[in-house]
């Protein structure tokens, strides 16, 4: 990594006199709104027969409250769209300035989960914060904050992709976050956060050998895992869900039955039988299976295509970004959302072990919806490709004005 990378190489040159910025990416917005609409329909379909209770969902045959979940979901969606608008209003430079405080805040919120009274415990996991009248899952905000902070970090002129120290710093931050998240415990969240961090380091051009070292460093952990057959059993339960029918296998078998009975065209909207009592968490983590049952192969293919479209548009936004920070942020946020969709679908179809992750834009679940829409707001802002003015920190300005001096110092330090 040379200092020239912080200049605008690779970004579209700003032509003097051109109007400041283009239009926001309407395709991106359209895709997201379409996915959310599908979400509203499926959330209604999955929850019309459920009743809201403290500990989650309980099947009940009382028709009087069939709109309860829908109402909540639509309300969250409205708030989410408003916050998307809010983030659309924020200039990337401003976001960059507040990225580290945001990261610190998300870490604090993660810790707050353990404070009795503030944290909410559901099914033995402390993942939620009491937020009247609902709850909030800080890990979702942590993902967003991680992407934005890494973007700021990687685009800083002092970042060197060939320095071990520069590689280790974000890694240590990631480990701190993962440690707290695993204490909740939330393996899915910790896993996604790790993937996000590594993909962004990859984007920044971190030498592959660093990744290799990380893998080698994790070998002992892997070996320990291998030496405990009980753990391995749990992890590989997804390969033979029948055998673990009473544990995590149950969900998976029911998910297969849902998907399989959907066939090509599905059993019809609202006609799912699986949702009645067999498919657990049908409104959140396993909503994709419900889509498969009610709308069939056609329905799930449509959803898959929408996510591909989202990824393609998101990457296009990154490609047209006018600053390294925007480039990283756009790419990172796109990856964050697409990856969660991928993992969720992989879980539902039994390709990877079961993890608790919602399907972005579709699943019932306020925090994920809110944060994903914040990300979309940021993406839309970046997609305008306005020329970005740098409010550079003083040190950075010096580095730019006297590049030779700074480079020498940096080199000497890294020796």
């Amino acid at each position: 990594m040379r200092l020239d990378s912080v200049t605008m190489s690779g970004c579209k040159p700003v032509v003097q006199g051109e109007s400041a910025g283009g239009r926001a990416d309407r395709w991106l917005l359209f895709v997201v709104l379409l996915l959310s609409f599908a979400g509203v329909v499926m959330v209604y379909s999955s929850t019309a027969l459920m009743q809201i209770s403290k500990s989650g969902s309980v099947a009940a045959d009382d028709p009087g409250i069939q709109f309860a979940y829908l109402k909540r979901h639509v309300m969250t969606l409205v708030i989410a769209v408003l916050s998307m608008w809010g983030f659309y209003r924020i200039r990337p430079a401003t976001l960059r300035k507040y990225s580290y405080p945001l990261l610190a805040l998300s870490f604090l919120l993660l810790l707050c989960v353990f404070i009795p009274g503030l944290g909410v415990k559901i099914n033995g996991a402390r993942r939620w914060l009491r937020l009247w009248p609902s709850t909030f899952q800080p890990v979702e905000l942590a993902k967003f904050a991680m992407v934005v902070s890494l973007s700021a970090y990687l685009s800083s002129p002092r970042y060197r992709s060939d320095s071990v120290k520069a590689f280790m710093k974000p890694l240590l931050v990631m480990l701190a976050f993962q440690g707290v998240i695993l204490m909740q415990p939330d393996f899915g969240g910790a896993f996604t956060l790790g993937l996000i961090t590594f993909s962004m380091l990859f984007l920044a051009g971190t030498s592959m050998k660093f990744f290799l070292y990380t893998v080698v460093a994790m070998l002992p952990l892997l070996l320990k895992l291998l030496s405990e057959p009980y753990r391995m059993d749990r992890i590989f339960a997804f390969l033979d869900p029948w055998k673990y029918y009473h544990g995590s296998g149950f969900q998976l078998v029911q998910s297969f039955i849902a998907l399989g009975s959907g066939g090509v065209t599905g059993v019809g909207l609202g006609e799912s039988r699986q949702k009645l009592r067999f498919l657990p968490e049908v409104n959140t983590d396993f909503i994709f299976a419900l889509i498969g049952e009610e709308l069939g192969f056609i329905g799930v293919t449509a959803v898959l295509c929408l996510f591909i479209l989202f990824f393609v548009r998101g990457v296009r936004v990154a490609g047209r970004a006018r600053s390294p920070f925007s480039y990283y942020a756009a790419f990172g946020l796109t990856i964050m959302i697409t990856m969660q969709a991928l993992i969720n679908i992989a879980v539902v179809t039994g390709i990877v072990p079961t993890k608790g992750l919602p399907l972005p834009f579709i699943s019932y679940g306020g925090s994920s919806l809110l944060v994903n829409f914040m990300a979309v707001g940021t993406l839309l802002r970046i997609s305008k490709a306005e020329p970005e003015q740098y409010g550079l920190p003083v040190r950075e300005s010096i580095a730019r004005s006297r590049p030779g001096l700074k480079t020498r110092r940096l080199r000497r330090r890294s020796l």
Binding site: V58, A59, F256, S261, F297, P324, A346
Partner: protein, 592 residues
């Protein structure tokens, strides 16, 4: 930053490739295998039935099974298969129970739609046959099986073996037995509880396709259960039985150990209970009766009752005196029946006195005055040091039940506890095992077992061990001390004047020591006429064969009066039973 265009291209291709893989997987699930899953979904007819895992069998040291696995049948109703048109009255008649009790049970559990509702538990074979024959009339009715136990030896060894029962509400609320499938019997007492995890096994599952009426069409898949681990205990059930019978209904405790490794050969706590009462669910009336039983059958007296050891403690005092060089075998005391310290008079149990008494005579005839004198020479703290090294004053840590620690007082203990200094008179009392000193039957057994093996205290081991056990403490006693004390203990049983003459056996030479723990301090002549509850407790510790000990034991009889009279014969019967059971007796006869 990596080259932008290249990165974007590569990542896009990778992502699209992943999506294609997903599409293929969905194609496989939804279109290729769609028909199969559609069939399964039609009424989601897959039912999972638990196949209970056979519990590990518990054997005694000679391979005699102490428990049997027995099936436990439950009539259950799968709720969602029986929604409409359930003939409640007919079902009530079939199960022989009131209609409203039945409907209450069904209503109570309606929310958990997938779990069978247990209607009637503990069916006998006739009931099972009757239900099976008429099952087609009641959709959703099934007979579930669990595995419970039968205890062929009944109350014999009940405190050791223990029993199974369903986890109680309180236990479930506390999160005990997490991971154990609902409705499984778990160990609640004794070895059954202590080694529950090893004995338990892993239940299997049978996936069955059922039709709308709950009829089982075919088995889709079977995951076989894994049997629990078998355990071989160190106990000898024949000896155990003989020991319990020798108590002749009296309350008390006995712990017999193999002195070489601490293996438990017999563990008696009486009165006991019949573990078979619990395995089919004990009735509230029976439970109340056991709870209110004046003899406290659930008290494991071996570990949970502590009493002054009485004269069996003289062994400890004698060892301390010899090892510390305070006395030798010729040192003698003139016993006139009492000793005066200031204004206090400390009596010997024998009013007219023992005359000139040396160590052997003091032990054989259990002279108190001799040990008062020895106690004076030793001081309490030196006695306590040896008592602790012989396993007294600390809980042995067997974990079979809660354990009392007993008490070996020291001068600093008294100052700390009571705020006043130690008095010489208290040393006198302690030297003969009265006063503050208290031990549990388990500790008494550890002490005598250590004497039998030369000074090593092993933690009582419930399982038969092939490899050696780790000693808890080790006291290296001089050969002279050992010879002298062992010879004296043989004298206790064999000498005409010995206090333990009732333990003398025809088939093996026994060494032992009697003890009496005072309940109230009143003259013997008055006591005989008093109610049982004022009678002294009887102790006897012994090992045999005297030359090469194979068994060491402590006997404690509540309100048994004199140690030699009541506890002695119990020790003798137990030892003889073990000599016969282990083949020692047969060998000796063959030699002669």
């Amino acid at each position: 930053m990596r080259d932008k265009r290249k990165t974007i291209t590569v990542l896009t291709y990778i992502t699209i490739a992943v999506f294609v893989v997903f599409l293929l997987r969905l194609w496989q699930l939804q279109i290729l295998k769609g028909g199969y899953y559609r069939k399964l979904s039609e009424k989601n007819r897959v039912r999972v039935f638990k196949i209970p895992a056979p519990r590990g069998i518990i054997y005694d040291r000679n391979g005699i099974p102490l428990v049997k696995n027995a099936p436990y049948f439950i009539a259950s109703l799968i709720p969602d298969l029986s929604k409409e048109g359930l003939d409640l009255e007919g079902l009530a008649r079939l199960l022989d129970m009131p209609v409203d009790e039945l409907s209450k049970k069904i209503a109570k559990q309606k929310r958990h739609v997938l779990e069978p509702i247990r209607l009637k538990e503990g069916l006998d074979f006739a009931e099972v046959a009757r239900i099976e024959a008429r099952r087609s009339d009641f959709p959703g009715l099934v007979v579930e099986t669990e595995i419970t136990r039968a205890y062929p030896y009944g109350s014999t060894g009940a405190h050791l073996i223990g029993y199974l029962s369903l986890p109680t509400e309180a236990q479930l609320r506390k999160g005990l037995f997490a991971g154990v499938p609902k409705g499984t019997f778990v160990g609640q007492w004794g070895v059954e509880a202590l080694y529950d995890k090893r004995l338990r096994g892993v239940p299997g599952k049978r996936f069955i396709e059922v039709d709308a009426l709950g009829r089982q069409l075919r088995t889709l898949r079977v995951v076989p259960p894994r049997k629990g681990e078998d355990l071989t205990l160190s106990v000898d059930i024949r000896t155990q039985k003989a020991a319990e019978e020798a108590f002749r209904g009296k309350a008390g405790a006995l712990l017999a150990l193999d002195p070489d490794d601490g293996e438990v050969l017999a563990l008696v706590s009486l009165p006991s209970f019949d573990p078979n009462l619990f395995v089919r669910g004990i009735s509230p009336r029976q439970w109340r009766r056991l709870q209110r039983h004046p003899g406290h059958p659930f008290l494991n007296r071996v570990f949970q009752s502590q009493y002054p050891p009485g004269s069996i403690f003289k062994i400890v005092t004698a060892i301390a005196a010899l090892e510390e060089g305070v006395v030798d075998e010729n040192f003698s005391v003139e016993c006139t029946g009492a000793i005066n310290v200031g204004i206090w008079k400390f009596s010997c149990w024998k009013g007219q006195g023992h005359g000139t008494t040396a160590l052997r005579k003091a032990l054989v005839e259990s002279c108190d005055v001799y040990f008062y004198e020895v106690g004076r020479l030793l001081g309490m703290d030196r006695i306590a040091k040896y008592a602790n090294a012989l396993g007294l004053g600390t809980a042995p840590g067997v974990n079979l039940s809660a354990e009392k620690e007993g008490l070996i007082p020291t001068t600093s203990w008294k100052l700390r506890k009571k705020g006043i200094p130690w008095y010489l008179g208290e040393t006198f009392n302690a030297a003969i095992g009265q006063g503050y000193v208290s031990v549990t039957p388990a500790q008494a057994a550890l002490m005598i077992s250590a004497l039998a093996n030369g000074g090593t205290v092993y933690r009582p081991e419930l399982l038969k061990v092939s490899s050696g056990t780790e000693p808890m403490t080790k006291l290296s006693l001089s050969r002279r001390t050992l010879r002298l004390i062992r010879d004296s203990l043989v004298g206790v049983v064999d000498d005409p004047k010995g206090t333990g003459g009732d333990a003398k056996s025809e088939i093996v030479r026994i060494a032992g020591k009697t003890g009496t723990a005072q309940v109230v301090k009143i003259p013997e002549s008055v006591k005989r006429k008093l109610a049982r509850k004022y009678k002294d407790h009887a102790w006897f510790v012994a090992y045999a064969p005297a030359a090469n000990p194979m068994i060491a034991l402590s006997v404690f009889v509540e309100h048994g009066g004199h140690g030699g009279e009541t506890a002695g014969p119990i020790a003798k019967a137990t030892i003889e039973a073990y000599m016969r059971s282990s083949g020692y007796h047969a060998e000796r006869q063959a030699e002669n």
